[in-house]
Every structure is written in C-alpha cells, then in structure tokens.
Amino acid sequence: MSIGKIQFAEQSGTFVLKFIGEIRLTLCSALDDTIERIFAALNFSAIVIDLTETQSIDSTTLGLLAKLSILSRQKVGMLPTVVTTHPDITRLLQSMGFDQVFNIVDRPIPCPECLSELPSQDQSEEVVKAKVLEAHRILMGLNESNREAFHDLVSALERQ
C-alpha cells in the first residue's frame, strides 16, 4: 500500500493544501489538527485544495474536506476552492455533491469563462470568481516555481 502525503503552503492569506498519492485515514488526524489550527490562528482569506496529484481519497478524508467547507463558509463567507484535473477524483467529488459546497475548478489553467457554475455563497458572484481565480493562480505559482514553499503536513505537526 503506497502511503500518500499531504503538504501545505501559505501565501498572502491564501492557504494551500496539496494531497499527493493515496490519501487514507492514516493522515486524517494530522489533517484534522491542521484544519483546527488554520481556523483558530491564521488570518486567511482563501483556501485551495490541490487534488491534481491525488490518486485516491478515502471517505474519512472526504468527511474532513466537508468540515473544511463548513468552517470556511462560516469564517470568510466563502467556500474553499478545489482544483482537480484527474477524472476519477472529479467524478467522486461530483457523486458526493461536493460541487454544491466547494468551488470546483477542473482545469489546469485559470480561465474566468470556466467559472460559470459556482455554488452560491455569502459574497457576490464577482468577488467569489475573482478570489477563485486568484487562489488558482497562487496555487499554480507555488507549484511551478516554488516547491520548497510546501511543507509536509505530518512532520510539520510533529515539530510543533
């Protein structure tokens, strides 16, 4: 069984969680602690979940993502953005109805025209769209140029 990993990075208030490989129950306590910490301490403006390198994701982790969605909406009036380019993962999210509770972006390149069907949120549609695009750009910037901006979630927690 290959163990996946979760990494995170933060840039100008945008918080990025990157799921790599097979994400299972074993990583969930680290993820849960991190979610608590994000919302307790950090002054964030947006959350992006990068699932472009995810092979599989178990039901327990999906439950935690739901928690992330609920908390984000409560704190900043906006849903987290999920970036997925893997058809299986996209299908799974869709079957869970997660397109109602996340801003799902299923393209590698940010494009304003693609964001026609975002779920309704507390902020205006323009604001949500602008933030989703910005978050996606930040994610791409981090992925391309700045891999060291990502920290391994589990070992970062062990250092606390």
Binding site: L25, S59, G63, A66, R91, L92, S95, M96
Partner: protein, 394 residues
Amino acid sequence: MHNSSAKLLIIDDDKVVRASLAAYLEDSGFQVLQAGNALQGLEVFESEEPDLVICDLRMPQVDGLELIRRIGEQQSETPVIVMSGAGVMSDVVEALRLGAADYLIKPLEDLAVLEHSVRRALDRARLRLENRRYREKLEVANRELQASLSLLQEDQNAGRQVQLNMLPETPWEVDGLCFAHKIIPSLYLSGDFVDYFRIDERRLGFYLADVSGHGASSAFVTVLLKFMTTRLLYEFRRNGAFPDFKPSDVLAHINRGLINCKLGKHVTMLGGLIDLAADRLTYCVGGHLPLPVFYSNGEATYLKGRGLPVGLFQDARYENYELQLPASFSLTLVSDGVLDLLPGETLKEREAVLPDRVRTAGGTLDGLRQVLGLAQLGEMPDDIALLVLNRNLA
C-alpha cells in the same frame, strides 16, 4: 563490557600455574576461585556458581573432558575454557564438541591471551543469556497478544452476530416483489448496511448505506441507522398514515441524527419507497456511488440522481426522484466496494461496466453473485453490499 567483576573458577592440579593465573586475573579485576582437582572443582562450581570456569584438561582421576561433561549435565550455560599442554588434536576436538568455549595451549606465554579469551567467553555467555531473556519476553508478549487478539476476535464475532441479526430476511417475498441482499465485510464487521421493510399496506421502504471508514466504529453507525429508521417508522405508525412521506424525509432525518451524534462519521446512501397501489418508485440519493441500476426488457441503465452525503452538512436538502414501475423489472443497489471487483483502470471505466454485469446476471442477486465471482473473493479492501429487488423476471 562489564566483565571485570565476574567470578572465575580455575581448576588445575599444578599449584604454581594456578596461582600465577589467579594473580594475573585478579589484577585484571576478576574475582578468582581455585580448585586443585576436578571433584573439588565441581563442589566449588555448585556452591559458588562462578560465571566462567578455566580448567586443565589433563588431571588425575577425573579429567577436564569429564568435568565439562558433568557441568554440561547440570544444564549449565557457564562457559568453560580448557587448557592443555598435550596439544593433542583429538582432545581439542572432543573438548569443543562438549561445548568448551575456548582451548588454550599450555604453557601460556602471554596471559593477556587468556584474559582476552575469558572476556570474549563472558561476553558471549552474556549475549546468549540476554537473547534467551528477550526470547522469553517476546514469547510472553506473543502469548498475551494472542490472548488479546482472541478476545478482540470474540468481540468482533459477537458484533458480527448483532449485525447479522439486524439485517432483513433474504430473500423476502412481499406482494409479488422479491427483495434480496448480500453483504461481505472487508473485516469482521461491515460499514455497509441494507434494510427493507413494509411501511403500511401499500408502501415498502428500502435503503443501502455505506458508512465512512471501516470496521467496528463504522459498524456501530449501522446499528444507529437501524435504530433511527426503525424509530422513525414507529413514529409514523403511531401518528397514523403519512400520505406525503418521502425518502428525502428519511435521509434528512438521518442527516440531522448523525450530525447531532458528533461521531465524525458520515454515510452515503440510496433510499427508496415503492407505492404498490400506484406502482411507483420514489428514491433519493445521498452522495452515493454507484447509482442504482434499473433493469427491464433486457436493458440495464443507471438511474439519475444526486445529493450530498448524509451526516456532513446541517442544511443538506435531499431531492426525490420518481419512476413508474413496469410489470417486470429489477433494481440493483450496490456499495462502492463492488467497483473494486470490476475491470478497468479508471473509475469511469469500472462504473460503465456495472449495468452490463446486471444485464448478464438477468437482474437477480444470485446471477450477480455469479457474474461478480463473490464466492471466490480473496481479501477485499472495502466492504461489499448488494441489494436487489425485482418482480416477474422471466
């Protein structure tokens, strides 16, 4: 290595040699006992229990070989170093065969060689002893683990019995319809669950649920599900008939119930209701994959539908979908564990295969069990549940 305080016994009939060895070894920090012949040596050995014996091979009456033999008979692990001036190869071989730790040729030119041999033999003996202690510890730990495991298995089996008792009868014939199910847990206990029941004289209800996670904690949630649905049914009955009772009401009720329990578990499920008078199926989807497969006239297709998983979002709304039932049909609900049994690299490919399998199986549970090869399953990564209801299949 802390061998210095070790207790040594030197057995040699040559007093001069004995004294010089003893002096040297005492200077090296050992505690040294002496004996002038083998019998006396054995007495000291038994009363003082030295850590190591150095003995001369050639002694009057009882010789060194016999001494090693007798020490060996006492099941002693005490190392014996043999010295001999004879240098006869057969003696060397015999001494080593009897378990001597080392063999030194007299006269000993350099006593440092003897000291080195003593220390090495003591180290080996200590390692052997440690090894044995570790092994004993491990064996005890293993026995304890085995006992705990048996206890856990008993618990799991008891839980499994409870779970089996909660499941409905299979097959169940009612008003021309036949319901049947099969559940295969990946562990002892399953996080997948099915149920079907009569609601009132004209309506039947059924659902298939897959609790997040695996094992005992998920199995507890299935008990909770059974409790919540049974209780809901009881409430409905007590308040008289509920003309507009819908599957979405049940999913919303379970959704609230699970969130209030704060178990950190959610459920994906398919729930349905059959109105026999109107021959109509109403169903509801709670974040479940794959969707129900409807089979009629030799055609099998997925029913449409979507909705959030149950037990995650406080304000989740569930939608009801309706379908007029033909005279002959079958409806197959499965948990996502079934997708692991289907060929294909991607989820999309595996999903596409399922209706075809239902068609090959002719819309029956037994057919599907054969087609999927459920009888020959090895270890599966996920629980598997199937619920099939059908009517008038040719």
